[in-house]
């Protein structure tokens, strides 16, 4: 009784005093993403269900959605770490291609499956390490550093991804164990209601859980948010964290996720090809942004990114079903992305106004601008007047 009362008390105080602020600034983007996801599912349910007992919102459809997008979920999770820290990683699409090519070349020469996959993932880790070192130790912009690694990975996959005649082409991965792994799944249900969970989905979910724990329940995870605050990790450093090493680790995580995503993509496509994953990094970034992570860093959740991937995946389900050309998917994707960025912007502006209204000693944007722009604006009128 008393504990229940206490709980209500606490919840009440929480809601009144901070709930609004929390809701407004921290969780609202993710809530927006989840709401979008739910609305899309309801839309699908209303529009596509009904024929011969077919239901759109059903385990077969949803697990298929997960299976088709597992690699992107993993990629988006890695990207979330980077974007949370205020950085960006453009290399992941190319790293996916490199990974698939590495698998396609290693398996035929008799390297055991397990070792091949580990090597493939480690290739991604190495690429991430390279970016991290460039960013941290040489102070290179993440954009440029990861762009350089994009070219490197794409180039390497071109060099490695040749058949026995030295011709660059899509290499079919012909390997008994690999094929088994690709087709392995746990089956649930019967007949029409049959649904499966395959290895890719399990791996993606595992990565998601691990990423959540790392981000929210380890010191390293807190450091990621700390770096994203915008002071380049200075405060985190003064508080006794290690932002330098963490920054490198962040890019290694993104690289590793790209490596894992590469393995999943290879399982999905059954080929290794240097042209795989072109533009995939942008899909990942879009999913992260739709998932409610601020591109400026410091705010966001991996769960949001996973939801963002599902929103993205649903668009690609809807468009063909509506009888539209597949190219429309991209346009819709762009529209949704834009809406979410606008939503984030609105929240940020509201947050600033709120804290200014609170009397918290935060710079008021308008007046700050006024004093900085003062010079320019003044110049203009002065010239006009004379």
């Amino acid at each position: 009784m008393s504990s229940a009362l206490q709980w209500i008390n606490r919840a009440g105080a929480w809601g009144v005093k901070y709930g609004k602020v929390l809701f407004a600034s921290r969780f609202l983007p993710v809530i927006g993403t989840l709401a979008t996801l739910v609305i899309m599912l309801i839309f699908g349910q209303i529009r596509y269900s009904g024929r011969m007992g077919y239901s759109f919102v059903s385990l077969p459809v949803l697990t298929a959605l997960l299976q088709n997008n597992a690699y992107l979920i993993v990629l988006a999770i890695g990207m979330t770490f980077v974007i949370l820290s205020g950085g960006i990683d453009l290399s992941v699409g190319a790293v996916v291609a490199l990974t698939t090519v590495v698998i396609a070349r290693l398996l035929p020469v008799g390297v055991p499956l397990g070792i091949t996959l580990i090597i493939a993932v480690l290739v991604g880790t190495a690429m991430g390490l390279l970016i991290g070192v460039m960013v941290q130790s040489f102070g290179i912009q993440p954009f440029i550093a990861s762009l350089a690694v994009l070219f490197l990975a794409r180039g390497l996959s071109n060099v490695i991804g040749v058949d026995e005649n030295g011709v660059v082409r899509s290499l079919a991965i012909v390997h008994e164990g690999f094929a088994k792994l690709a087709s392995w799944s746990i089956k649930f249900g019967e007949g029409r209601a049959i649904w499966r969970i395959n290895a890719s989905v399990l791996i993606a979910i595992a990565v998601l859980i691990i990423a959540y724990l790392v981000l929210h329940h380890t010191r390293f995870g807190r450091t990621v948010y700390g770096i994203g605050q915008g002071d380049n990790g200075m405060a985190a450093g003064l508080m006794g964290l290690n932002p330098e090493r963490s920054k490198i680790a962040i890019y290694m995580i993104s690289g590793t996720c790209a490596g894992i995503a590469g393995v999943l993509f290879a399982l999905f496509m059954q080929t290794g090809f240097c042209q795989h994953g072109i533009g995939m990094e942008l899909d990942a970034i879009a999913a992260v942004v739709i998932g409610g992570t601020l591109l400026a860093g410091g705010s966001g959740f991996v769960l949001g990114s996973a939801a963002g991937v599902l929103v993205y995946g649903l668009i690609f389900v809807f468009i063909p079903r509506e009888g539209l050309d597949a190219t429309w998917s991209r346009i819709f994707m762009g529209v949704i992305l834009l809406l979410f960025v606008l939503l984030q912007r609105a929240i940020t502006v509201r947050g600033e106004k709120r804290s200014a209204g609170h009397g918290a000693k935060k710079p008021q944007l308008a007046s700050k601008k006024a004093s900085i722009d003062e010079g320019h604006r003044d110049n203009r009128t002065e010239v006009n007047d004379e």
């Binding site: 105080a13 929480w14 005093k17 901070y18 602020v21 929390l22 600034s25 921290r26 724990l213 929210h216 329940h217 380890t218 010191r219 807190r222 948010y225 700390g226 994203g228 605050q229 200075m234 405060a235 985190a236 450093g237 003064l238 508080m239 006794g240 964290l241 290690n242 410091g298 705010s299 804290s355 609170h358 009397g359 918290a360 000693k361 710079p363 007046s367 700050k368 006024a370 004093s371 900085i372 003062e374 010079g375 604006r377 003044d378 110049n379 203009r380 009128t381 002065e382 010239v383 004379e386």
Partner: protein, 533 residues
């Protein structure tokens, strides 16, 4: 008075001894010994052969003007900066920290002057970061919040530990930083300006925690610009000036006035002269036309309509608590925001256009309260910062000639005594007081008729304060009209000819400053109007 410290342990009388808990603490062995510490930055010798010692169970105040090297010494102790020469010993062992992590591991816990917390993490995470309760490799969130709540409650701070740090006011964030520093079992606790945003009760709570820690044998370095606080809490005082050690004294044996004279490097007589000069300044003209006249000026949600006149040669002080509407008055007078009520007249002409560019042409200048954000442009040089407003008024096609610019810059650098006297240094390398002087120079360069100064003395040491006050008094004597805002009533009383009293975004009174007007009388006015409501 002890000069440069030898190696004699501190002697009685120690307020601490009276409490009779000394026996547990070995107070005679230094916990921190700094010998000959030197650090140079480009253009500045921040620390020059400084010796410093700290004993367990004492509160030691590090005093000096802005730029004296206090913060640098602290950062050298905590591994943020590395010493160019000299040594640091912790408990007799020589150490060389290369990062704050190492200093923390060695038992040195620090609250830095600039708030160095992570605003996008929760309060609990900030307080407990680095020493969270864990299960295996994972942080236990609930236990962490409970522990954080405990530490916060010692400072009488009851806030939701799960709320975001950034959603709280600066004062609360400062308390969080202090809670964080006291959460670890530190041997040495460093508090660099921990009280700058705290109110009286919060300061009292902090002091009681500090006394507890002292009784447990923790050595505390306490840096503050508030002399009263230093005298209330500190056992000993070390004074730095221009990066050099001046001396170390027992607090009880160092009268305030002497402390100030050590800090600013002037004799007591010279200081008295400055103070007298600032206070002197009779109002020049009595019955002239008002320079600026606000009649029923107000803006909804910002400030209720008020009347205020300013005359040439007069300093009008705005007294009131933080958030009482002082800044809002200045912003309306400046024309930064459009009033929705009443009229503002400058030199007999009603003001219709509200924007800084028009204000500049009206020769009204506003020096902002928030020096760091709205004032200085950190990456530009001192020279550029001084010339900014003048150039802005002139327009981009009429550059200030090099000779004229040099003359102006030199004039202000000498007349305001800006140090280091190098106009080509980026302003961010200057101390707070000198940055403030540069800002003053910026507005003086446009030779304003009305100068609005919002907290021009905040975070500035006594010597510079007196100097800036004297400059302001001089300006008024030369016929400038000045509006002076400060949280410190004594400052307002010392310098103003007339004082407008503010409360709750309302002007509640106006008094001519005479001998009979005291700070308690103003406080009474503020308090009594509270009862009326």
């Amino acid at each position: 008075m002890v000069g440069i410290p030898g190696h004699t342990p501190p002697h009685l009388p120690h307020p601490f001894d009276l409490e009779g808990v000394l026996s547990a603490v070995d107070q005679t062995t230094e916990i921190v010994t700094v010998t000959g510490a030197s650090i140079s930055f480009p253009g500045v010798r921040a620390l020059d052969g400084v010796d410093f010692r700290l004993f367990p169970g004492e509160i030691h105040s590090l005093m000096g003007e802005n730029g004296a090297g206090k913060s640098t010494l602290i950062k050298a102790l905590t591994g943020v900066y590395q010493l160019d020469s000299g040594t640091v010993e912790i408990a007799g062992e020589q150490v060389r920290f290369t990062s704050p992590v190492q200093a923390q591991a060695a038992g040195i816990s620090t609250v830095y002057q600039e708030l160095n917390l992570i605003s996008n993490l929760t309060v609990a995470e900030n307080v407990m970061l680095g020493h969270e309760p864990k299960r295996g490799p994972l942080i236990r969130t609930r236990a962490m919040r409970e522990a954080a709540t405990e530490h916060l409650e010692r400072l009488h701070l009851r806030i939701d530990p799960a709320s975001m740090l950034g959603s709280h006011m600066i004062g609360v964030q400062q308390l969080c930083a202090i809670a964080r520093a006291t959460a670890v079992q530190a041997k040495v606790l460093i508090l660099d300006e921990p009280t700058s945003s705290l109110d009286k009760t919060e300061v009292d709570a902090l002091f009681s925690v500090m006394r507890d820690l002292k009784a447990q044998g923790v050595a505390i370095i306490f840096i503050s610009h508030f002399l009263d606080q230093v005298y209330e809490i500190a056992d000993r005082i070390t004074v730095l000036r221009n990066g050099k050690l001046v001396g170390e004294w027992e607090t009880t044996q160092l009268p305030k006035f002497q402390l100030i004279s050590h800090m600013v490097g002037k004799t007591a007589d010279e200081l008295a002269a400055i103070a007298g000069e600032a206070a002197a300044g009779e109002r020049v003209t009595q019955d002239a036309e008002p320079l600026a006249q606000a009649i029923g000026l107000g803006r909804r949600g910002m400030i209720e309509p008020f009347d205020l006149d300013t005359y040439p040669g007069e300093i009008v002080g705005l007294a009131g608590l933080l958030g009482s509407g002082r800044t809002e008055v200045a912003r309306l007078l400046y024309g930064l925001e459009r009033p929705d009520h009443g009229t503002l007249t400058v030199r007999g002409r009603q003001v219709r256009r509200f924007a800084p560019r028009h204000s500049l042409r009206r020769q009204v200048a506003y020096s902002t309260e928030d020096r760091k954000v709205e004032g200085v442009v950190g990456d530009l040089t001192v020279r550029e910062n001084i010339l900014l407003a003048l150039q802005a008024r002139r327009g981009p096609f009429k550059p200030i000639g090099k000779k004229e610019a040099d003359e102006l810059v030199n004039k202000f650098m000498t007349s305001l005594d800006i140090t280091p006297a190098n106009p080509d240094l980026p302003i961010k390398n200057l101390s707070g007081g000198n940055q403030q002087k540069v800002l003053l120079a910026r507005w003086l360069a446009i030779s304003p008729a009305l100068l609005l100064l919002d907290e021009p003395l905040r975070g500035i040491d006594v010597g510079t304060k007196a100097e800036i006050q004297r400059i302001i008094a001089d300006l008024a004597r030369q016929g400038m009209s000045v509006v002076f805002i400060s949280s410190e009533l004594e400052e307002v009383l010392r310098i103003s000819h007339r004082i407008a009293i503010m409360r709750d975004r309302r002007k509640i009174g106006e008094e001519v400053n005479s001998q009979t007007l005291t700070s308690s009388k103003i406080f009474e006015t503020i308090a009594s109007s509270q009862e009326l409501r």
